[in-house]
């Protein structure tokens, strides 16, 4: 990868990577630090990483740094602040808010694989590379995560 391709990777992947981390941590500063560390690591390994694999490499690095951060600080993922700011819709929360609330019920791995699958469009193999799981494990994590979300939504639907 060249310096120019590195800057292209910044333009293309930085915001997606930031949203992925921010969605998991819900702390802007921590998410920014992790993204910055990931890109710094990419810069240091410029000669080793191919441009076509830069996105996967960035998400893998950022995910590992995020796990390390969570383990180090033992932080619990909370609901994103931007969803709480919608006070006018508190009485009639839309499906996105409910899904975000349901995401809290997932484990860290389930949440990560589902976000990588839905937000970034990775297939099982790519998610497995990022998270260090095999394809079967990824599929199982995604199935159980979606099942948890579905159960939450169905249960909430009954309550409403």
């Amino acid at each position: 990868m060249t310096e120019k391709e590195y800057n292209t990777s910044v333009d293309t992947h930085a915001n997606a990577l930031f949203r992925f981390i921010y969605k998991s941590l819900n702390v802007r500063e921590d998410a920014e630090n992790i993204v910055q560390d990931a890109f710094e690591s990419l810069w240091l390994n410029l000669g080793k990483v191919e441009f076509e694999k830069a996105k996967s490499w960035l998400f893998t690095t950022a995910y590992r740094k995020m796990i390390d951060s969570i383990r180090r600080e033992k932080k619990m993922v909370e609901m994103p602040e931007f969803t709480k700011e919608k006070g006018s819709e508190a009485m009639q929360p839309d499906i996105k808010d409910i899904v975000n609330k349901a995401m809290e019920k997932l484990t860290e791995t389930q949440r990560t694989v589902i976000m990588l699958r839905d937000y970034e469009g990775y297939d099982y193999a790519e998610i497995g590379k990022i998270t260090g799981l095999n394809e079967s494990q990824v599929k199982v994590y995604i199935f159980r995560g979606r099942q948890t979300l579905k159960n939450y939504l169905v249960k909430l639907d009954h309550i409403i």
């Binding site: 120019k4 910044v10 921010y22 969605k23 993204v35 976000m115 979606r146």
Partner: protein, 263 residues
């Protein structure tokens, strides 16, 4: 087609959601799900588990992540060689076309060969033995010696500027007549012809430097230098020139230069 029941409904709906069931089988399953209201509600719940990108999420300032890249100009050997050839050719043309000014030694006008007035040296009061004055207490021998000293000292007044600088043995005839220097001449070739009077003093002057022939040998074999290869081997000539002190001048010339040096 798979049969839908309460045990496999979640698995089939997950496969439908993930795109693992496609084509005709997918159409049949979707038709069966829509036919059952409970399955239809369940399918809607499954569909809502797919996360949609949230564009309202804050974005990061990516400018701080970028690196300033220096513009790299690739080194091209062809261009470098072409540039060297052009520069070398230009330098060669400049040197060849350069016409250096002829180096000449300005001829110093020789002072006019006018006879300088004879220096009149006042006669010393020599007390001769015939001097009968009472105050003369000098012995006779001393008087004679003092007279001789006065006369011989006058030979030191020969002007050195008239002595040639070349290492040529020169004989100078000095004639003293009645307390005055009469003539200084180069008598190298005329010495034999001159009859030296009895009262004349002959002075012979010489130095120990190398004779001029050795010097001629040294300069006749110029070293082959880089410039001499370009401009040709210089030729050295020695010519007679009455305007120089040595009556000779050195001429060095090649294809481009002609240097005349007189000394």
């Amino acid at each position: 087609m798979k049969q839908i029941n309460d045990e496999n409904i979640d698995e089939i709906m997950f496969q439908l959601l993930e795109g693992e069931i496609t084509g005709f089988e997918r159409e049949q399953l979707l038709t069966a799900i829509e036919a059952d209201e409970a399955y239809s509600n369940l399918w809607q719940a499954w569909q809502q588990t797919i996360l949609t990108p949230e564009l309202e999420l804050p974005v990061m300032n990516i400018r701080q992540l970028k690196k300033k890249t220096a513009r790299v100009i690739p080194f091209n050997f062809r261009y470098a060689i072409a540039a060297m050839l052009v520069l070398g050719l230009g330098l060669a043309v400049f040197l060849v076309n350069q016409t250096p000014g002829e180096i000449t030694v300005s001829e110093v006008p020789k002072p006019a060969q006018t006879k300088q007035p004879v220096k009149q040296i006042p006669k010393p009061e020599i007390k001769t033995p015939e001097d009968t004055r009472v105050d003369s207490l000098i012995p006779l021998k001393e008087k004679i010696r003092s007279m001789a000293d006065i006369q011989t000292d006058k030979t030191n007044e020969i002007k050195q500027e008239n002595i040639p600088a070349t290492p040529i043995t020169t004989e100078i005839k000095s004639t003293i007549e009645h307390d005055k220097i009469v003539e200084v001449t180069d008598t190298k070739n005329k010495l034999k012809e001159v009859e030296v009077p009895e009262n004349h003093i002959i002075v012979t002057m010489s130095n120990d430097s190398k004779p001029a022939q050795d010097f001629k040998k040294d300069i006749s074999k110029p070293k082959q230098t880089f410039l001499s290869r370009i401009f040709g081997t210089p030729k050295f000539k020695l010519e007679n020139d009455s305007n120089t002190r040595t009556n000779r001048r050195l001429i060095i010339e090649n294809k481009q230069y002609k240097i005349i040096a007189g000394f």
